[in-house]
Symmetry: C2
Subunit: 354 residues, 2 copies
């Protein structure tokens, strides 16, 4: 338990996870708007001490009493835990900002990205505000800015998703595979060799080191993955475009943290490359990094650990003057999860203290 | 120098390279249709002995006399070397099958993929037949089959290209970076750390281990890369569809060998998932690997070293009944280079011995 300003009391649920670690980092580095901050995780972690705002705080096991007097709870826990516990926490009077997929598509739960639809945070009949999935978040601020200028009609997205999108287990698995594979020149040349060499696959359905895996999430009708449908459903909801045409193919790559997306976006109006670049450069939360002649384009290695989404390779399609192609990268734990949650919680904190 | 059947005399130019090594492997394992086989490379490699068809053959330095009596020459050398030497070799009476970008878009040089447009090999006024670039080759057999059924109108492609697409230098660079990075948990978490840790970037403009790099080739107008324009130009030429709408974004991934592509293809006619899968399963040179419920989809690790292109994740787009989304992998040195060259050379050999 730690005390800051006289602001609202905050609980961080899932403080020990991959997203939770970044939440604590953000709480320690952003403007301090909270009074007390409580850290919560599973009974496995109860009693551990973590640092937030420079002070040690003991982790409490998830239980109803932990939320007495809590105003805002940021959730970074598995979907099933959110589904069960968010109603418990709201019934005690706190507003929940949830990072999981449990509530994103529930009609009376707003799905909020402060750079795109901040006004939605105020209508929250259930006391729950949802944050989009990491892949959607990494592109939605860029698309929101372009949509305001050109009117979005269609998206074709291919992802390059990092291991940490599968949580701490994904991170550990990739490092362990990298350790086993190293610079071994016998690997990467014969079909199937990596299957024997990388050790455990962890949360991934195939080796990830020295490989790419065209799958994320669960199987849905028509051969789609749940991760692909999330990109479609969530983009439509955040942008307020229920008819938006969206196709996504989600692929996992051997990167620890930072998702990348290749985006083909078709608009109502004719686009111009320079103007689109200027729109993006002027957008809060976006960094334009786009000068291939000087080897300037975003890569995960240059983006990990930073707040904004980085966008580059902005081109007007050669066969369609109303379409843009671009490539973007965002830290999935930060830009794609903890930062958005923190920004939504700050909107709530401002409302509560107003 | 080695003697086989009484068939035509073959020269392999660039026998010591990444593509050349696979050419020799294919010559040693496919039906033996050649008489003598001569191996050629730069003066640096002259005198080295390589094995083909189980026999040692000494490498000759590239020189006009080497081609006396040669009927067919397979070229796997840099573009500038092809541009200079293909005319020298044809003037001595041999037909050149070239793997480089030097002649692909020259109007009176056919660009041939035996599964798609074998008839084109016969009209070769310059005595040169070109083979497409690896990224185009990995998708063109799949697209050719679907085009015959549904009529292709538009392509949106994002690539996941292997290090060996940049030749032996690319392979060496990735292994060296993997050696340096290994399972080091300090890497992959902070912006820029990999730049210091991976050592030389080799032919890549940024670290490749634990990263993805949205660039391949040289800078062209409008922010396009030459690799992206090749996919557009070559697809149009091989399919005989000069107006085909094509957009590509080329991205390098830390995979040694086997390119992957995420393809959104729009057709003239309505598509059906099962039927499209059946069309692909019945296509020579294509393996359908598409059952996500059983974790069946192609990955580079399962495809490297094999001849066909592997296709999976075949879905009908949710918002367009005339569009398919799919993911495919092909060994870029084999499926995407040496195999096509070998198949074209075999068409020529059959013609010469007919
Ligand atoms: N990773 C991403 O890129 C990303 C992006 C956007 C959204 N999300 C979502 O954010 C949530 C957390 O993801 P993550 O990647 O941080 O996962 P993670 O690394 O596996 O962390 C899970 C957290 O939830 C806690 N937890 C698990 N079971 C619990 C229980 N029964 N009761 C209380 N706490 C429990 C864990 O506590 P212990 O340490 O005590 O087990 C840990 O703090 C998920 O819903 C995920 O879908 C993740
Ligand atoms: N890698 C791919 O995925 C791929 C796919 C499709 C097409 N291609 C094309 O295939 C060609 C070869 O690519 P690669 O990846 O095999 O490159 P590589 O590994 O660098 O090999 C280059 C080959 O060319 C020879 N060579 C270089 N300069 C020469 C010269 N001045 N005279 C004679 N021989 C010379 C080299 O001989 P030494 O060993 O003696 O230097 C070596 O055998 C390139 O045009 C490339 O664009 C490559």
């Amino acid at each position: 338990m730690t005390r800051g300003t006289g602001g609202p009391t905050l609980a961080v649920v899932g403080a020990t996870g991959a997203v939770g670690a970044v939440m604590l980092d953000l709480l320690s580095t952003r403007r301090n708007v909270y009074g007390e901050i409580r850290l919560v995780a599973s009974p496995r972690s109860a009693g551990r001490t973590l640092t937030v705002r420079g002070e040690p705080v003991e982790v409490a096991a998830l239980a109803p009493e932990v939320f007495d007097g809590v105003d805002i709870a940021m959730f970074g826990v598995p979907e099933a835990v959110s589904a069960e516990w968010a109603p418990v926490v709201t019934s005690r009077g706190a507003v929940v900002v949830d990072n999981s997929g449990a509530f994103r598509m529930v009609p009376d739960v707003p799905l909020v990205v402060p750079e795109v639809n901040p006004e939605r945070v105020r209508r929250r009949p259930r006391g729950i505000v949802a944050s989009p999935s990491c892949a959607t978040l990494s592109m939605i601020v860029v698309l929101g800015a372009l949509h305001r200028r050109y009117g979005l009609r269609e998206l074709v997205v291919s992802s390059y998703q990092a291991a940490s999108g599968a949580g701490q287990d994904g991170i550990d698995t990739l490092y362990e595979q990298m350790e086993k594979v190293g610079g071994d020149r016998a690997l990467g040349n014969r079909a199937g060799d990596l299957r024997g060499a990388v050790g455990e696959f962890g949360p991934f359905p195939a080796p990830l080191a020295l490989n790419v895996v065209p799958w994320a999430g669960e199987v849905r009708d028509g051969g789609w993955s749940s991760a692909e449908l999330k990109i479609r459903d969530e983009s439509r909801k955040v942008l307020g475009l229920p008819e938006l045409r969206v196709t996504a193919t989600c692929v996992r790559v051997p990167v620890v943290t930072a998702h990348s997306l290749s985006v083909h976006a078709v608009f109502k109006e004719r686009v111009e490359q320079r103007e689109a670049q200027a729109v993006l450069a002027a957008s809060p939360g976006v960094v334009l990094c786009d000068n291939p002649a000087f080897q300037e384009f975003p890569t995960p290695a240059d983006v990990v650990g930073t707040d904004p989404v980085w966008v580059g390779r902005v081109r007007r399609s050669l066969d369609d003057p109303k379409a843009l192609d671009l490539f973007l990268c965002g830290d999935n734990l930060r830009n794609g999860a903890a930062l958005n949650t923190a920004q939504v919680a700050e909107l709530l904190a401002a409302e509560l203290t107003a």
